[in-house]
Subunit: 213 residues, 2 copies
Amino acid sequence: MEVNRSDTATRILEVSELLFVEHGFEATSLRMITQQAEVNLAAVNYHFGSKDALFESVFMRRFTPLISACLAELDALEAKGAGDSIERVVMTFIRPCLALSRDPARGGALFVRLLSRALVENHRLLREALSREYSEFVERYTQAFRRALPELGEQDLSWRMHFAFGLMFNAFAGNDVLKIFRKSPVVTARDPEAIVQHLVPFVLAGLTMPASD
Amino acid sequence: MEVNRSDTATRILEVSELLFVEHGFEATSLRMITQQAEVNLAAVNYHFGSKDALFESVFMRRFTPLISACLAELDALEAKGAGDSIERVVMTFIRPCLALSRDPARGGALFVRLLSRALVENHRLLREALSREYSEFVERYTQAFRRALPELGEQDLSWRMHFAFGLMFNAFAGNDVLKIFRKSPVVTARDPEAIVQHLVPFVLAGLTMPASD
DNA sequence: GTCTATACGGAGATAGAC
DNA sequence: GTCTATCTCCGTATAGAC
């Protein structure tokens, strides 16, 4: 039965989630995982096929419900006829990300960083898995943006979505290209609430500026 | 003499730059590099200390002149008394990035991607090297932004710089979090000129919106 | 079906001869 | 400076025990 997975596979999943979040993908070895999970080295390849596929499983376990939550918020927004507010559309994405980042049982803020980094860094195996299953996400948000920003041409719309989601994913990833230069970072780039408070207006300013084409 | 480096070290540098750009850091092995450069495997560790340190050398060889070019443009801008235009300040950063991306002798667009990805992905050794040598870059641009956006408080200023540089570096890195979902990307996220044409207005909109604090 | 022990090839690093 | 030989650790594959 698919549901009653052996404890071995579950233990591997949970231990490796913690280790991937803490040390990153490359720096986490299968020997670290299997030792801490108290299972045999070969168990990972038996249950998941490869280290890459293990990461994909770890990733999908959190990503699927996150995407569903965003689309559910989008459904709710459109159901109550508020789908023409771009701010509210943006918040249907932001809010589930924030909720996930506050949930310690699901790894909290650290896991959101893993998610975002995996997207930004473009893991090989992840690409295929995502384009297979999550094209709906992009299509739904493209529709939603088009409806909330009807004065934009298709080119403008695509570019602005590109920048907006890039900015949001990177913000949640905790990437701070300036902090690596600075001795004492002024911006607490890892505090999700503070990020959102400044991020949303910035993104909205770019989205709502006059059309260029 | 520092200038007359042995041909061995130089060959390693040039071959590894090409391979890092083409295959990425992890996927490029020392054995690939040394074979193609026709030097012994141990030569890398003798001349550079480690694979990480080799990457740092490859990186710095291009990054240092890029940063200098930006600061030179900033100097020129302020010398002619145009330092209060935020658009022009932003362009002092964009223009050298574009120039580098057009220069095939220095790796062209692919190398700009490597640079940006290294920043975004936050290589361990890179962090230390950068914070040691390039704090001037951040300090100069912080001053320049403060002068061009005098109505902003320090908090607003830091956040907006954080978002603006994050957006610009990611754009040049060619990261496209949406494209991995899409079958056919509408946005040609890798074409530097097209990026800039849409990127600059988006960034400026966020930078110049009314202050929040 | 599950799990264990073990082996293999490739990686980065290094000691020591020349 | 250079090169050979060798070390440890990695992900992976498989044969065979339960």
